[in-house]
Symmetry: C2
Subunit: 436 residues, 2 copies
């Protein structure tokens, strides 16, 4: 065992910060054993050092001055677990300028300011470790970076938001409406009072931006991503999909299409017998398809105190190994200006996939032919059709699954179909994706 310890400064003692301190306290001996040196908490920056805490920390360790903490000469690694972007950005940049390695759980910080943060890290010869920023405790960033490093990544996709997956699972399993499932998620603390960031797919978009950047070595920004959330999902469509053998999930998808990428977040149907379809409740799963390894999948809790703390401490151990070895830290290719490649992102209209369509049409002969004629004109062919008994006197639901079609053609066809005299409601359109 080395005679030195590794000194850590922690910014933030909220949910995740408390989890990190719990692990560092309860596993102190095991960590020292594994690492060959103990981890010592030099200080924890909080807003109010006098506030009562869920854990005991040594007297004098709390400070209300994060800037002073990140500049302290003895601090070697800074854990940023405060959240938010503007202040977190300032503390992280200051830490890097003072040649401290930084571990962060802050996906928004990386998705919005990744380039600036990694430039500062490179300029100062230190590392930024971000495992906890995507998919909580699932070691997906390490897998992409190292475990699958022999592969050209062809596709990365999955369930990256536990709130949405909890809501969709409740709808499917309990027959709850979207509003009921959301209320239950809020009651259990899986959803915020204002659920916008989760249910509109923005959180998922931040995460797939980071994963895409790492997987393809090309910086991908949020505004290049098509995003559609789950607010308008109806139980009826979940049920139709189930009878057709599909399960509805909010997916993030990033795939290589020639020399371009298709990156998008939207509700999608996947085969019910696939692994991803059976990811339930607040769990996350990320599938990665590589040219050598084929399909892989990584599953676990994507949020929560201890799963996120697990990832923060794993990164802390890696940063500590770097500190102890004296070797320089590596910068991910996508944020290494000498090595990053630019990759064009396809406009959504050029995406190709399969579709589930539900129309509400007049119940008279010839209607199906009118619809099919429009679809045929846009070269959209059908794989399955269900026409149910009328639910009201004069109109009837028709459900269709298409073969692969181009988004542009599909949207144009839907505009024509929705303008038909026989169409009673705007057509519901949900993409249908293959899974591992």
């Amino acid at each position: 065992m080395s005679s030195r310890s590794v000194q850590v400064g922690i910014i933030g003692l909220g949910t995740v910060g408390t989890g990190v301190v719990k692990i560092l306290q309860s596993r102190a001996k095991g960590i020292a054993h594994q690492l060959g040196a103990p981890i010592q908490i030099a200080g924890i920056a909080v807003r109010d050092p006098k506030k009562a805490r869920a854990i005991e920390v040594p007297a004098g360790i709390l400070t209300d001055d994060p800037m002073e903490l990140v500049r302290r000469p003895e601090v070697e690694i800074v854990l940023e677990v405060m959240g938010g972007t503007e202040q977190a950005r300032q503390y992280v940049l200051e830490a890097l300028r003072h040649k401290k390695h930084v571990v962060t759980a802050n996906k928004a910080l990386i998705a919005l300011h990744g380039q600036e943060v990694f430039d500062a890290a490179a300029a100062n010869g230190v590392g930024v470790y971000l495992e906890a920023s995507v998919a909580g405790g699932i070691p997906i960033i390490k897998a992409l970076h190292e475990g699958l490093a022999a592969n050209r990544i062809e596709r990365i996709y999955g369930i990256l938001n536990g709130t949405c997956n909890y809501i969709l699972t409740q709808m499917s399993q309990q027959g709850a409406s979207y509003q009921e499932a959301l209320a239950e998620a809020q009651r259990l603390g899986y959803a915020e009072a204002d659920p916008t960031f989760d249910v509109d797919g923005l959180d998922t978009a931040h995460k797939i931006a980071i994963l895409s950047s790492l997987a393809y070595g090309a910086p991908i920004s949020i505004d290049q991503i098509y995003v559609e959330g789950i607010r308008r999902i109806q139980l009826e469509d979940i049920r139709y999909a189930e009878t057709l053998g599909y399960t509805l999930k909010l997916l993030a998808i990033s795939e290589l299409r020639g020399s371009a990428l298709s990156v998008r977040v939207h509700p999608a149907l996947i085969p019910s017998t696939s692994v991803l379809a059976n990811v339930q409740g607040a769990f996350n799963a990320v599938a990665v398809v590589g040219d050598a390894v084929g399909p892989t999948l990584f599953y676990g809790q994507g949020a929560g105190q201890m799963p996120t703390a697990s990832a923060v401490v794993a990164d802390l151990l890696e940063a500590a190994r770097t500190v102890l070895s004296g070797r320089p830290a590596e910068i991910p290719l996508c944020w290494d200006r000498r090595k990053a490649v630019a990759m064009p992102v396809l406009p959504m209209e050029e995406t190709e996939t399969r579709y589930y369509l539900r129309m509400q049409v007049e119940d008279r002969p010839g209607v199906l032919a009118e619809v099919a004629t429009i679809l045929g004109r846009y070269r959209i062919s059908l794989a399955a059709v269900i026409q149910k008994e009328p639910t009201c006197a004069e109109s009837v639901p028709v459900v269709m699954l298409t073969h692969r079609a181009q988004e542009r053609n599909l949207q144009a066809a839907l505009r024509e179909i929705d303008a038909l005299e026989c169409t009673r409601q705007p057509t519901v359109c949900i993409r249908l994706e293959a899974d591992v």
Copy 2:
């Protein structure tokens, strides 16, 4: 980019070796970009250098003298992809004595001679990288070692043999008998002509021995593991299980029980809606439960040329990073004599789990009471009972699911039940396990 290259010697150019060379050739530029230095193949040892090969290799690179290759001064990393244990062991030990890092895909070598191999590595300050030895392309060893390093591992279990999983999937999906499914697996190359090593669970036992050792930091040997294969599985039980909501898989299970471990390989029923139950065909999946992260799961192809080569090359890149950094390699705790802890392994009779039982009993009043009385006497309580219509004139199948019980009690109860006059066949007993 560094001005040097990293020199690699490869022992074996069979299926995996060929896959490794394919990746090193096709991704040479990407790998050099990522690593900061190119990988160069210094030599490949084969039995017959004149034999026609599926790939082109530079003239003069093949040799029939592996000992000479591993001793060559310029070789820095040796990839052992020849398989077998005795010769592989000699070449690996010789490579380590000459201070070459070793990457191996050889689970038998590690399971049988891990301690000797890692002792030699430690004595010479080099590393042994073994990701490809368990679960093919799935980066599970890296996950255990690094991604989940903040956790105390509580349970590690999963589907580790693609041959068995293919056979069981065929039985369930196609209604095939065990013999039919095995024949199909052999026809497709998923099973060997002599399938013993796979279907009797030995391959799975080697893998769970390695994973357990890594997860708990304690060396676990093959002979400490209870092993039961799939030869005697009947379609009938798969069907009963399905009606009860369970799917049959061959599982490897290693779990903490107080300060001891329960390590075992046997067929098991798991809930059909769980992620693991939906792992189909030749795929593998490993679930890891940690005290902080909770349940996680890692899925992918557990064998085959390119998935295994993907793991070998990932390890090669890690070994190359170690070479380039000049830092010493790390030895896994379980094989580090200064740090390893010994952990007792519970005898199988002390294991506790749930059970599926199928009896064939005489069709007369009082029989169920006789059976239930015996179970009750051994403190085995029932969670579900199905008694079907008689399948022949005078006997009837009875299927039961128990609550948790001790293996010793269960086996004693079965001996009594099978000795009853009303019992027509030995009771079928399949363990029932919880899943993520």
